[in-house]
């Protein structure tokens, strides 16, 4: 061993320590971006949907938006545990229950009346604490090579029919499924809903999936015959995979069936936000004509619902849908649905 070796080693350790300290600082700083106007958005919507809206908003207003994307329920839970210290200014979710949950906890600020006015009343919070941005509707996705259209259930209750054993794909953990469970429980009562869920579990067998994307994918690939998803997943899948790779179709439930549920995606400003004005600007942008045009023409395939913008995609127009009459307050915060699914052993 030469004498130079330990010295070099010592220098090496010194360098390592300096590098680590520098890295730590760098890592800390790179996260806290510029000092200009900025808001933090907790995003439970699809990242790509939000990305195009955010960049258009930044361009229009000069306000920077720091986006934190996660599952809507996770983000809502984070907001609750953060309380008054929450770094978030705005929360944007795929479904209304997460927003209703935050509203129930008194964590949301009132939305500017002019913003609420852009959207039909029935799509907003009854209290005016959040605004509806887009709508989606639950449909059946099926693979015609595994099940004929005529064999499909027309009512959500039939999904529990033993003749569909092994044919059903189910995503109990997907937040989009909760409103359907809530709707069934409202129509037929909790006891019937529980029996129905147990039937679903038996029919799904091993085809229990984490989310609607996976249901769409597995049905499309022919792993399982059919499942319930929100309509736009099928259109998105087509856009991603290319029409030649689409081997599935969608079908609607019978008009007003409890499984035929219209869900609203919405956004809210947090009461704890220290950037109330800028945060309200973001909400106003989401329901403005330019914002709704982005929703209508991007690969989001959700229904725009505000400022008179309508969908330009090959979808059934919003006005022609015949969903169940369940209202947003009746959909609630989803807790009933979750506890029913837990009782049924699905969660």
């Amino acid at each position: 061993m030469t004498a130079a070796q330990p010295r070099a080693l010592r220098a090496g350790w010194g360098a390592l320590a300096v590098a680590m300290a520098a890295g730590w600082l760098l890592a800390g700083c790179s996260a806290s971006s510029g000092s200009g106007q900025s808001i933090t958005l907790y995003n439970g919507q699809h990242a790509q949907t939000t990305e195009s809206l955010v960049s258009a908003f930044e361009k229009a207003t000069g306000i920077t938006v720091n986006v934190r994307s996660d599952d809507e329920d996770t983000l809502a839970d984070e907001v609750v545990s953060e309380g008054s210290r929450s770094p978030a200014d705005v929360i944007y979710t795929e479904n209304s229950p997460a927003l209703e949950y935050l509203q129930g906890n008194g964590l949301l600020a009132s939305v500017d009346p002019s913003t609420l006015a852009a959207t039909p009343n029935r799509y907003d919070s009854a209290q005016g604490d959040w605004v509806g941005v887009s709508a989606r509707v639950s449909v059946l996705i099926y693979n015609p090579s595994l099940i004929a259209e005529s064999q499909l259930p027309t009512s959500i209750l039939q999904l529990a029919d033993p003749r569909y054993q092994g044919d059903l794909a189910l995503a109990p953990g997907e937040t989009d499924f909760q409103p359907i469970v809530t709707s069934v429980a409202r129509t037929y009562g909790s006891a019937a809903a529980l029996t129905w869920l147990e039937g679903l579990k038996a029919n799904a067998g091993s085809h229990i999936y984490p989310d609607d994307e996976t249901i769409a994918d597995e049905v499309n690939r022919g792993v399982v015959a059919f499942g319930v998803v929100n309509q736009y997943y099928w259109y998105r899948m087509g856009a991603e995979l290319g029409s030649s790779n689409v081997h599935s179709k969608i079908a609607y439930f019978a008009p007003q069936d409890p499984g035929y549920v219209l869900d609203v995606s919405g956004a809210a400003v947090l009461r704890s936000s220290t950037h109330q004005a800028d945060a309200q600007k973001f909400l106003a942008f989401l329901v403005s004509k330019p914002g709704q045009e982005i929703t209508a023409h991007s690969d989001s395939f959700e229904y725009p619902i505000a400022s008179g913008v309508s969908t330009a995609q090959p979808e059934t127009p919003l006005g022609e849908l015949q969903p169940n009459s369940i209202t947003i307050p009746e959909l609630g915060d989803g807790s009933t649905a979750v506890s029913l699914m837990q009782k049924a052993g699905l969660l």
């Binding site: 680590m20 720091n66 934190r68 329920d73 690939r221 290319g242 052993g345």
Partner: protein, 533 residues
């Protein structure tokens, strides 16, 4: 102890008494190791606090529901099958590369390690996107075996390299057959490394999330994630996590029983001797074909499908900027975390190996419990502490993510450091002490050069693991920042395979660098075959 007699002689020695006190560790070492263990076990404390928040009745109800039996069965059978497969594949490949005249063994040494650089969720994405067969139990077995067998290969290869070839000669000369010599002596000497690797494999499977979600295979971890996401219910998730920690404890508890007693020590470079490698002879071609198949399955499929999706989907892939930005953050966070974890592992390894009292061993073993905790639980714990007890300090900031990585992958660092510490002969240090060197000098001039390679290996292992980590990153990533893994996940979740693919490829490229270093590194260690190849 050889050192004692000589120690009193040189007059310049500050501390003339360098007695036989291997069982009494220095206070500094004990203190540092204790501090590390406390930090590592803090998440467990969080689990207990949160779970107890929901009351014993609720916990019992949650744990004894029918779903738990399914989860337990799914988790246990997968862990057993994959661990056994990895033990066989990892040991055989390591033996082929290190102890035989396998053609191109240096290339194989690299190719066999690189699958570890590919995130489990990318491997499952690749397989699931080309075949509907790859799902559920069989899919999980296939994907996890291909993803984690390097965890056995790496320590076994290192151990075979450091093993004393004289023992094999002795066994043969005493009349033991080839196969028996292999099983009793070769595998026997590597027994510790094989078991260590198996423990890592089992624990990684217990905590895996991304791959199982893609494959639609329900385990405790996927259920914990669902529980946390869907029902706003942290206590429930924590209660289920406790079951997982108990399973991890069982794995850890079984290992020392299987390991038995005895320790193979060899005096480093001095005792090196060149012997000929085992000749494969007519088996060469089938062996090459088998290795090629393994590499094609583990490496070819995920890389191939990623490239395919990148070009096949109609969507133009992303601007290079966001890939670069995500890549930079991944490299930065992983690099700092790897250095931190290696540094933390050093005192624990020294204590465990050099002062093998019951306390030291227990301390070392307790740190492995971390691997049994899913990334999301550790992330939640850290986030919770920052938010609840530190007034929001550091909340959603990079240092918190780095700390989480260092805690999560500390056991990997420890395995790397420990192996080299165990092979470094204490006698050399004692000799240096006896010649009048101060403890810090001995550490720098003797200990470090001996264990340096192990430190580098530990760094690389942790770097790899961080760069491919998903669950904790999803929770702790600073707002406004995307790493390669989170961005891949966002696109993959959305079925945007074309846009996800470039991120997968960059993760593989970034993680391949330390893999290569790791493989080459072991290649340069004193080889049992010297420079013969």
């Amino acid at each position: 102890m050889i050192a004692t007699g000589v120690a009193a002689e040189p007059p310049a020695v500050a501390d003339p008494v360098v007695p036989a006190r291997r069982r009494l560790p220095p206070l500094f070492l004990l203190g540092a190791s204790g501090a590390v263990a406390v930090v590592l076990l803090a998440p467990l404390l969080f689990l207990l606090i949160e779970a107890s928040g929901s009351g014993a009745g609720t916990i019992a109800h949650l744990i004894w529901r029918p779903l738990t039996a399914t989860l337990l069965w799914n988790t246990v059978r997968l862990t057993v099958v994959v661990t056994a497969l990895c033990a066989v594949i990892g040991t055989l490949t390591a033996w082929l590369v290190e102890c035989t005249d396998l053609p191109g063994r240096r290339i194989w040494a690299v190719l066999l390690v690189i699958p570890f650089a590919i995130p489990d969720f990318v491997i499952s994405f690749g397989w699931a996107s080309i075949s509907t067969w790859v799902q559920g139990f069989q899919g999980a077995v296939l994907v996890m075996t291909l993803a984690v067998y390097p965890l056995v290969y790496l320590p076994v290869a290192a151990s075979l390299r450091g093993a004393d070839p004289g023992l094999e000669d002795a066994a043969r000369s005493l009349g033991l057959g080839r196969v028996r010599t292999f099983l009793r002596v070769t595998v026997g000497q590597a027994r510790g490394a094989i078991l260590g690797g198996c423990v890592l494999v089992a624990l990684v499977i217990l905590a895996e999330y991304g791959a199982f979600e893609i494959l639609g295979y329900q385990t405790f971890t996927t259920e914990i994630f669902t529980e946390f996401q869907v029902s706003f219910n942290v206590p429930t998730a924590c209660a289920l996590s406790l079951v997982l920690v108990v399973l991890g404890g069982v794995v850890l508890g079984a290992e020392p029983v299987a390991r038995g007693k005895g320790r193979a020590v060899r005096t480093g470079a001095q005792a090196q001797r060149a012997i000929r490698r085992h000749r494969l002879g007519r088996a060469t071609l089938p062996v090459l074909a088998a290795l090629a198949l393994l590499v094609a399955l583990a490496l070819g499929v995920p890389v191939g499908t990623s490239v395919y999706w990148m070009f096949a989907s109609g969507v133009p892939f992303l601007t290079g900027v966001s890939v670069l930005d995500a890549g930079w953050h991944t490299a930065l966070y992983s690099g700092v975390a790897a250095a931190l974890a290696t540094l933390l592992a050093l005192p624990v390894a020294l204590l465990a190996v050099r002062h093998s009292g019951r306390g030291g061993r227990l301390l070392e073993r307790s740190t492995y419990l971390v691997l049994a905790m899913p990334g999301i639980v550790i992330a939640l714990a850290i986030s919770y502490f920052a938010e609840r007890y530190a007034g929001g300090f550091g909340y959603q900031s990079a240092p918190l993510l780095i700390a989480a990585y260092a805690i999560l992958f500390f056991p990997l660092a420890l395995v790397g450091v420990r192996a080299s510490v165990a092979h470094a002969p204490v006698a050399l240090e004692e000799a240096a002490r006896s010649l009048g060197r101060r403890p810090d000098e001995v550490f720098l001039r003797v200990t470090l050069p001996l264990i340096g390679p192990g430190l580098a290996a530990a760094f690389c292992l942790v770097f790899l693991a961080c760069a491919t980590e998903l669950t904790a990153t999803l929770v702790l990533v600073p707002t406004g920042v995307q790493t390669l893994a989170t961005q891949f996940w966002a696109y993959q979740q959305n079925l945007s395979y074309g846009q996800a693919a470039p991120f997968a490829l960059v993760i593989i490229a970034i993680a391949a660098v330390p893999s290569y270093v790791l493989a080459r590194h072991f290649d340069r260690l004193p080889s049992r075959a010297g420079s013969a190849s």
